[in-house]
Amino acid sequence: MRDKKKQGNKLVNKKDPAVKYVEPAAQGLNSKEQSRRDFLEGSGAAAVAGAGISAFGIPGANAQSSSAVATTVINVVVNGTQHSLEVEDRWTLADMLRDQLDLTGTKIGCNRSECGACTVLMDEQPVYACSQLAVWADGADIQTVEGLAQNGELTPVQRAFVINNGPQCGFCTPGQLMTATALLSSNPSPTAKEVKDAMVGNLCRCSNYNSIVEAIVMAGEEGGLA
């Protein structure tokens, strides 16, 4: 993602034949339903294709570079849905979730396994999606923050985050929720100490730790959310 943004800033050439440019009107820019993310992704994709960079698109699409990029087809279950995807070997799991499956709830913070914003569950265990190659997830069951609420119904730990103001800026919240979800699956009523031990790999730059710990303890207490 970092590379894509850099390239996007460098070059926007609407006339390049390789650019799959879409008129703003056709993109629905005037529509109220156009989200900020849709807009950013649309303009970013045009810029990337214009630069002849196919690295972050569907492999092969708009490819102008002659250097072969290793790709692999993987089968992965994400939030209960089976996907068969061709991924570049160098893509991280976080890249794949965000750029291929549009599951942008998984945040990339440090992109170096330090902050935990990218935490997802791989076969029910929290892992840093920024530090796993997507190809390593072949055959795995992945759960992201998008898989928590069902039909608009928040999970107990999500509700507890709302009640306790768990999110401040909110950027770390998806990762916090995934680690907390794994903790509560294995230990349904954790103490504050157990919560802190389990959550050490999820940093919060707003330093809202007390509220986060209180939220997870509340989610675990019997009737804590009643």
């Binding site: 692999t72 170096r112 396994s113 796993q132």
Partner: protein, 328 residues
Amino acid sequence: MRSLTNLNVASFEEAASAAQQARQLGQSVAFSGGGTDLLQQIKDGTDNADVVINLRSVPDGRAIETNGNGVSIGGLVTLTELSEDPLVNASMSAIAQAAVSVGTPQIRNVGTLAGNVTQRPWCWYYRNGFNCFKAGGEECFSLDGENGQHAIFGGGPSFIVHPSDVAPALVAFDAIFQVTGPNGDREVSAEDFFVLPITDPVRENSLRENELLTGVVIPNLSANTVSTYYKVMDREAWTHAEIGVATVIQRDGNVAQSAKVVLTGVAPIPWRVQAVEDFLAGKQISAAVAREAGEIGIRDAQPLTKNAHKLPMTSAAIETAVLSLAAG
């Protein structure tokens, strides 16, 4: 991330021969267990792997089992599994305590025993791309630089500290390291597995090119063995040891019949303090004995300009570890 090719292999033997073939084709190669640290190094440019050999597809090396020789622990056992294993907790608690003290749950869930033991140093010069000994260069920048977290034992010409928590515990239990390479398997003693920079300033262990650590065997322990791993960090969690002490004692009543004391975070390899081991042999474990053990533990220390704080820290850590193994 830079372009790379992932290669799934079905066995350690296949991993070794694939690495050999890739190198013969001029590719740089990395083995990946959990891969967390490897991907950081690739993103940072401190590892330039063209081919990543993925060991997740290897079914071997995942068991912890007792056999005639002792307890065998597969190299691909994750740190989470190691820290939760009943057998390890019951008879080798230092190993379980060391494993659970590593990094974060996210790292321990994928990180492996072999990966933890063979991880590259975390010296800030090396990790930030300085062309130091560890990167194949000709100097150690810590010597005249920021050396607050560098070696007080065994340094020179490189002054890195070994970063593994698990490794000192393995050494304290006299682990035998099992290695697979293109030409077959071999076993290496704990003493010979780790290599001081005076012998090889580039590498931290005696693995040869295309070889990988596939597991360890902890030789049979006498029933009166007790052990602990005590780790001091510069914050409460989620970092390497300023000083870590693995202590294994054969205890009769409250007498230490024999002892192994191995430090991490203070030397380029897991550092046995034999003077402490000799001192403890035959002693009743008491507050006074533990304190003296701590004092003896730093007699041979040679601090650099900014890491003298590690001396009292090391003494206190040895004292705490030894005293925690007193009977009752």
